[in-house]
Subunit: 318 residues, 2 copies
């Protein structure tokens, strides 16, 4: 089952807010519904957002009103600010608007199909690189969800994990909860259980301890954007793992498609870090009127990144 | 109001599991009830545990059965393994068992009174050191709760914060949620609100970003144990903040009473890190049968610690 797919005249996607309790799909018929799904993280993950952006423009193009479709594409493009893939997917599909709905859809489906191939390539390349560097078994710490649910299928960071598992080279996976929305505890735990991969959940702040205690020999994460200088922007909590990996002298590996690398972003300081609704962090456990800053992403400086694995290459530290 | 106190023939303590929703006190008449309160974190924090340990032996001594009291003291001593203060408080009171209940109680009350004085001294010394190092305003990142609720009153790390606030030298406080039991979001947020100190909550994994983004110029935490080599054992999530502070070149300051320094612990690797019930991390948000490792503390290597502030001195990096 794919995380996101095209069904003749609409988008179908897994509602990730319902996992792991229920595996429910959403039928998306309009750009407004898609923007809503993106905003509330029913669909999330940089590669999946690229596909969603392109399919959304294909939906918009079906009306035949090119000007309206272009306006809708712009709204869609900015539904979330940090991952470059959403804008990239929208832009690729939007460039075909003048050629009519079928051309736009063909472009979007091309992005969707490519994501599947790209993920497999990232996974195999990353697994090979880790095996060359570390031998077996590879024990991994990861964060958030850079799995099938962040893509069309297979996954980027979890694609590497799946490839290691397939090749009998995987030891154990430690995963962070990923507050406040718990994508690790909810989604990565679910994916790994489905795949029969042995894993243990830790609180986010224990991830660096897992690294320091020698319980893993690599950290593998995805990315929402890679800047031209190779700073990596990913889910908040990535940076502490990179610091811990550097101190422990183990590889910190970023697995992401080439489309995540943005030559127009000079470095991490140029990226808009999404600040989400503080309500995601507040509840009966916090005093009334508590102020919260809900930073969704962080910046890992390039010098802490051992390798960036894409479908085409491995960029190692310079 | 004190976090823990002696009321003629029993211990009274604030039930911290009920905050911030309700301010409820517990009447503790037996060592069993005290062990239960310690285990479920109704009372927690290294200095408060030292006082609780001593008062618990005073409770036990009231029966007049010295042998039974000694056995109960041993149970109490190991209710939680990581903070040295609990064992220290038990041992100090237990040493007086041969002199009768009144002598034990006098020793326990001496520890209780000393904690108040010690906290004030730690706070003032820490504030002075930070002002000398940084000028004003001092903007602080903290973790967990090293406040009045971790002590009898005033606090260690938050004692420094309170002293800075009293002296008009405090800017803003950022505090981590502190999963899984959310002592930051529940207790520190409550204490700071009560004290009228401006503060903002972040998820644990965003703390290092707050440091990296220059939003604070110091990290201040408490400690459950300081080893002879000055490795610091504190609530899990302390180590990532120390890594971030070192990278950012800002002081990482530990505020703790001298009783937290344990000359019998050569370094962090010699400390038993408490592993708590995985159930604290699991729920409807996790798939059935998810394995979780609930590490309660971490080790910050001495070279990352800029200063350890006690009631008597400031130990700076060697």
């Amino acid at each position: 089952m794919r995380t996101i797919d095209w069904r003749g005249d609409h988008i179908e996607l897994i509602d990730q807010t319902r996992l792991p309790g229920e595996l429910v799909t959403l039928r998306i018929d309009t750009v407004d519904a898609l923007v809503d799904a993106i905003t509330r993280l029913a669909v999330r993950g940089a590669p999946a957002l690229g596909v969603a952006g392109a399919l959304g423009v294909a939906l918009a193009a079906r009306s035949g009103d090119t000007e309206q479709a272009a306006r809708q594409a712009e709204t869609l493009r900015t539904a979330r600010p940090t991952a470059v893939n959403l804008a990239w997917g929208v832009d690729r599909a939007r460039a075909r608007l003048g050629e009519g709905p079928d051309a736009v859809l063909a472009e979007a489906l091309d992005i969707l199909d490519a994501d599947v191939r790209v993920n497999r390539a990232v996974g195999s390349r990353g697994a090979r690189w880790l095996l060359d560097a570390l031998g077996r078994p590879v024990n991994v710490q990861t964060h958030c969800n850079a799995g099938a649910l962040a893509c069309v299928e297979w996954g980027t960071a979890l694609g590497v994990v799946r490839a290691l598992h397939r090749d009998g080279a995987l030891g154990h996976v430690y995963l962070n909860e990923t507050r406040p929305l718990l994508q690790g505890a909810r989604l990565t735990a679910w994916e790994l259980a489905q795949a029969g991969i042995a894993h243990t959940l830790v609180v986010d702040s224990a991830g660096p301890s897992v690294v320091a205690r020698g319980m893993v020999n690599a950290v593998i994460v995805g990315a929402d954007r890679v800047a031209a200088n190779r700073d990596v922007i990913n889910k908040v909590g990535t940076y502490p793992l990179a610091l811990a990996a550097a101190r422990a002298g183990i590889p910190f590996v970023v697995a992401a498609p080439e489309s995540t690398i943005d030559p127009d972003t000079p470095d991490g300081s140029a990226v808009t870090i999404e600040v989400r609704d503080p309500a995601e962090m507040l509840g009966t456990h916090t005093p009334p009127d508590t102020a919260a800053l809900n930073l969704a992403f962080d910046v890992t400086p390039a010098d802490l990144v051992t390798a960036i694995v894409t479908e085409d290459r491995v960029l190692t530290a310079r």
